[in-house]
């Protein structure tokens, strides 16, 4: 039968799985993206879930989802989906606006009873009232079909109904012509201790696949065009796990034990969870009693010679402000990861934003500069965290690494590096019994002070939050000394600019217009600029990873373009920073503050409207 089907060739396809929290949408999404990756596709994924753990069933508030973008160069998770798998009316209602016109909707026909329709807020049944006529809707009795297979294979009645997600996944596998072996292995792993569950899930998956094959509605299947990725060994990775691994790699490469002092907070918690797993690598993970203890314990560990880190999100960064100032004053290395979420206050905890930049740059008492960096994508979190640790230690300065909920929880392919190939890290550790040792003696070139680690012979000294005298590091209230030390702390960071990479420009380098992005919007801006260039308009793109200090060629880059458009998910914090640091250029800005990523379409429009 399959031979009659029409094949649709595509560069990439977006699939979204949505249902009640607890319907197994994250599992379905993961099994799908892993299979796509194994089939040689590039992938990007993002989980979309409510702040509540189990919101009321069948309501729009309780909808949880997982979006997967597969194909060639999937730098973003995709604006709208080609295929929506919706387990109930509520999830259909919440996500219909994200389905492309003409897209495919697979939904469970069994779920559209009067009560569920009412709970979802439908006055009439969308499957029968013709409101979905612009889409290809496939709504078989999925629960019934899945249950039949599961019961026939020995599962109990209660568990049987819960296999419906596998039935749907089977149908999706059919649409993309994926091998069933891959999820089989993954299910074996997932249900290692419950072989019956693994077996039944595989059977239901297969049943879904076979069922789709017999359905006339599946008149066409997708075929993804050849994907050409750089040769190498790959894995799928989320931004938060990549951040954790980057820190571990920096610890190993620098020979400094890793210490993490953190308090759980959405959407940064996964970094804490991941590092807690890796005691075999010597990581010391301390779940503190609060955010302040998280950073203060890290400062203590840094004083004692560890690569010390703390991870948090916006409200937590607010609480850490005073302690960051202490790390600035004591000139100790510290990595502070802020997985930004929409604020202020508790804000939208599970939604993403780039609105903590001002706080990272300026949010402390006194003249209190930190190094500020940002990660561009999930896999880039690995390198960003590694470099944050490198520069923190080499500069003896706290580094704030900004990622965001979207980047932290989204995933993409990661080409696996070798630790030995990563850049060397050389912390300025003071030598035992150095007769010339002074706590605030600085390297004349970099202005970095030495790290004299407690326990070392002949280096006993005292540091703290009070201003210190130049060199000797004694408590000092001398006015001239204070000004000098303030200058040193800033100049030390300014001089780091000489050691970070130059700002790159991509797209049409000789264009009139430069589009600027920073942090987690790299993928959407890159894709939009590419699309605009493909449509014939010339546009260049500069994506900033280093914010304090900015690359040394920033002014040179900015000077080449007539129009500069800065796109960011806040009300204009980076553009204002550029206006402050590079006032001789005119900037335009495009901002969005909805807790959502940019869509390619809106960016393309913004660029075209310049």
């Amino acid at each position: 039968m399959a031979t009659n089907k029409q094949i649709i060739e595509r560069d990439s396809v977006v699939v979204k799985f949505v249902g009640d929290s607890g319907d197994g949408m994250q599992l379905s999404g993961t099994l799908f993206s892993d299979a796509a990756a194994l089939a040689g596709n590039d992938i990007a994924t993002f989980p979309d879930y409510p702040a509540e753990i189990r919101a009321p069933h069948n309501t729009v508030a309780g909808v949880s989802g997982f979006q997967v973008h597969i194909g060639k160069e999937t730098r973003i998770i995709g604006d709208k989906c080609d295929v929506l798998v919706a387990m109930n009316p509520a999830s259909l209602k919440a996500n219909l606006k994200w389905v492309k016109i003409g897209g495919t909707i697979i939904t469970d026909g069994d779920a559209y009873d009067d009560k569920s329709l009412e709970k979802a807020g439908y006055a009439t049944n969308p499957l029968t009232d013709n409101s979905l006529s612009s889409y290809r809707v496939i709504a078989p009795a999925i629960t019934t079909l899945a249950k039949e297979t599961a019961l026939a294979n020995g599962l109990d009645v209660k568990s049987a109904a819960r296999t419906k997600n596998m039935f749907c996944l089977g149908m999706v596998y059919y649409i993309f012509d994926f091998e069933l072996e891959t999820p089989g292995c993954l299910l074996d792993k997932r249900f290692k201790k419950k072989p019956l569950m693994a077996d039944v899930n595989k059977k239901v998956l297969e049943a879904g696949f076979n069922f789709a094959e017999t359905m006339e509605e599946f008149a066409s299947r997708f075929h993804i065009s050849n994907v050409q990725l750089e040769k190498g060994k790959y894995r799928n990775i989320t931004g938060n796990i990549a951040t954790a691994w980057g820190l571990l790699a920096a610890s190993e490469r620098s020979g400094r034990d890793l210490f993490l002092g953190s308090y759980p907070i959405t959407p940064a918690t996964e970094i804490l969870i991941e590092l807690a797993l890796h005691k075999s690598l010597g990581a010391k993970v301390f779940q503190a009693e609060d955010e302040i203890a998280g950073i203060c314990s890290a400062i203590g560990a840094s004083f004692a010679g560890s690569l010390a880190c703390t991870t948090t999100s916006g409200p937590g960064l607010s609480l850490k402000s005073e302690a960051i100032g202490l790390a600035v004053m004591t000139e100790l290395p510290l990595v502070i990861v802020d997985v930004q979420r929409a604020g202020p206050s508790t804000g939208l905890p599970t939604k993403s934003e780039q609105s903590d930049l001002n706080m990272a740059l300026f949010g402390r008492n006194g003249e209190s500069p930190c190094i500020v960096m940002a990660a561009g994508s999930p896999s880039d979190c690995f390198y960003a965290a590694y470099n944050a640790a490198k520069y923190a230690m080499e500069t003896m300065t706290p580094v704030i690494l900004l990622t965001d909920g979207h980047t932290g929880q989204g995933s993409e392919l990661f080409r696996i590096p070798k630790v030995a190939d990563l850049p060397a890290i050389n912390p300025p550790i003071a030598k035992p019994n150095d007769p010339d040792y002074q706590p605030y003696r600085r390297d004349p070139e970099t202005l970095v002070r030495q790290w004299a680690i407690p326990g070392t012979e002949g280096l006993r000294h005292r540091i703290g939050g009070l201003e210190k005298s130049d060199g000797l590091g004694l408590v000092s209230t001398d006015p001239i000394n204070h000004e000098k030390m303030v200058d040193y702390r800033q100049e030390k960071i300014n001089r780091l600019a000489q050691r970070i990479p130059l700002q790159e420009v991509t797209g049409s380098v000789d264009a009139d217009t430069l589009v600027i992005s920073w942090g987690g919007t790299r993928g959407s801006v890159y894709t939009s600029v590419k699309e605009v260039n493909e449509a014939g308009k010339k546009v260049a793109h500069a994506h900033f990873s280093y914010i304090m200090p900015l690359p040394t060629n920033t002014a040179e880059v900015l000077s080449k373009y007539k129009n500069i458009l800065v796109c960011e998910l806040n009300s204009g914090q980076f553009v204002n920073y550029l206006r402050m640091t590079h006032p001789s250029f005119a900037y335009k800005q495009y901002n969005k503050i909805q807790g959502l990523p940019f869509t390619v379409q809106e960016l393309v429009n913004a660029i075209n409207n310049i």
Binding site: D34, L38, G40, L229, G232, K233, Y234, R235, N236, W245, L248, A249, E252, D257, F259, G261, H278, K279, S280, L281, G282, K284, F286, A288, E289, D290, I292, A293, C296, S297, A298, I299, G300, S302, F303, A304, G305, S306, A308, E322, A323, G325, L326, I416, K418, V419, P454, G455, E457, G458, L459, R460, H461, R462, I463, G464, G465, L466, L474, V475
Partner: protein, 343 residues
């Protein structure tokens, strides 16, 4: 690393090895001077290498302490000494960590860190200088000020019930609590040596006199006239006797502890409790720590020293266990673990 495993100094040290060259800027007559003296004396007795000592403090008069001792020292921010010290000790369990702190620093702004470091039984030594007043900010009431205290911020008397340090320590599952008075430096040294020997969080409350803002607050306990009747010096294994003639004692009564005078109302020496500081059950320790003059003498010395697993010990066991069990031995192993594929 416990007291017995710590590396000892290859040469004998004296208090001069720990005297710093910095001018001590506490007020003349402040109780802190005596405590500083006691610390400089006890470090050589404890006998670790001089580079192994780390003093970590927060903010307040007490927290200037690290500047005046020649060890590794860290002067932190208000209330966070216990949190900073936690990181120091976890990062390097070969360090002997001492925390000079006050009733503002650890009972108020840093109260949360205080109870949690104790709950974790992290191996540090906390010296809590209790003068029942805020000194460095010039005389506001503290969480240990007596109800009704007249201070700058309580001109008509405080309306807050004070914390009792020992009660808080034992409530947080503390394994070591001792009490000393600034006017007896020799006794402080003895108590601190016991604190050092204890593996786990030790808290030594030092009743300290602020000559400027709360002079005489411990007067009833310290003045010559009343001190014998108001001080119960505890010694492990010995009867809880006090008074000039050592004829008064503490008895376990029906409703808690009672003061008895031997020979009066049929009380005999046999009625007097014997101090067992190692008792795991905190009941008597709690009652002892709560005794307040004038109805009771104040209990001094080591009130509680219970053996329990320490945080760093458990952490190291867990790391060793994972190092033995886990197939992931380096970051390259980690990067290549799980599902990967070659393109």
């Amino acid at each position: 690393m416990g007291y017995k495993q710590m590396e000892k100094s290859p040469v004998p040290l004296t208090h001069e090895d720990f005297a710093s060259d910095q001018m001590v800027k506490w007020c003349p007559g402040c109780g802190d001077h005596a405590i500083l003296n006691a610390v400089e004396k006890v470090f050589p007795i404890i006998g670790y290498k001089k580079e192994s000592y780390v003093l970590v403090s927060g903010i307040g008069c007490s927290s200037r302490f690290p500047y005046y001792v020649n060890t590794y020292g860290f002067h932190g921010i208000h209330g966070r000494a216990n949190a900073i010290a936690t990181g120091v000790r976890i990062a390097n369990p070969k360090l002997s960590v001492w925390i000079p702190t006050g009733d503002g620093d650890s009972m108020a702004i840093g109260g949360n860190h205080f109870i949690h470091i104790i709950r974790r039984n992290l191996d540090v030594n906390i010296m809590l200088f209790n003068n029942k007043i805020y000194g460095l900010t010039k005389g506001q009431y503290s969480p240990t000020s007596e109800l009704g205290s007249i201070t700058k911020t309580s001109p008509y008397g405080t309306i807050e019930h004070p914390f009792k340090v020992g009660e808080l320590v034992i409530g947080a599952q503390g394994t070591f609590f001792a009490r000393a008075i600034d006017s007896n430096p020799k006794f402080i040294t003895e108590v601190m040596l016991e604190a050092a020997k204890h593996d786990g969080t030790s808290v030594v409350e030092i009743l300290q006199n602020c000559v400027i803002f709360n002079d005489g607050t411990h007067d009833m306990i310290t003045n010559r006239e009343t001190k014998d009747d108001m001080q119960l010096v505890l010694k492990h294994g010995e009867k809880m006797l006090f008074g000039k003639e050592l004829n008064k004692g503490i008895k376990q009564g029906k409703n808690g502890l009672e003061v008895i005078t031997i020979g009066e109302n049929g009380a005999t020496l046999d009625d007097v409790l014997v101090h067992d500081m190692y008792n795991l059950s905190p009941g008597v320790h709690l009652m002892l720590s709560k005794m307040l003059p004038p109805a009771f003498p104040i209990a001094l010395g080591v009130i509680r020293s219970a053996v329990s697993d320490t945080y760093c010990e458990l952490l190291q066991n867990s790391i060793d266990d994972q190092k033995a069990k886990s197939p992931i031995k380096c970051v390259d192993d980690l990067l290549n673990s799980g599902d990967t594929w070659v393109i």
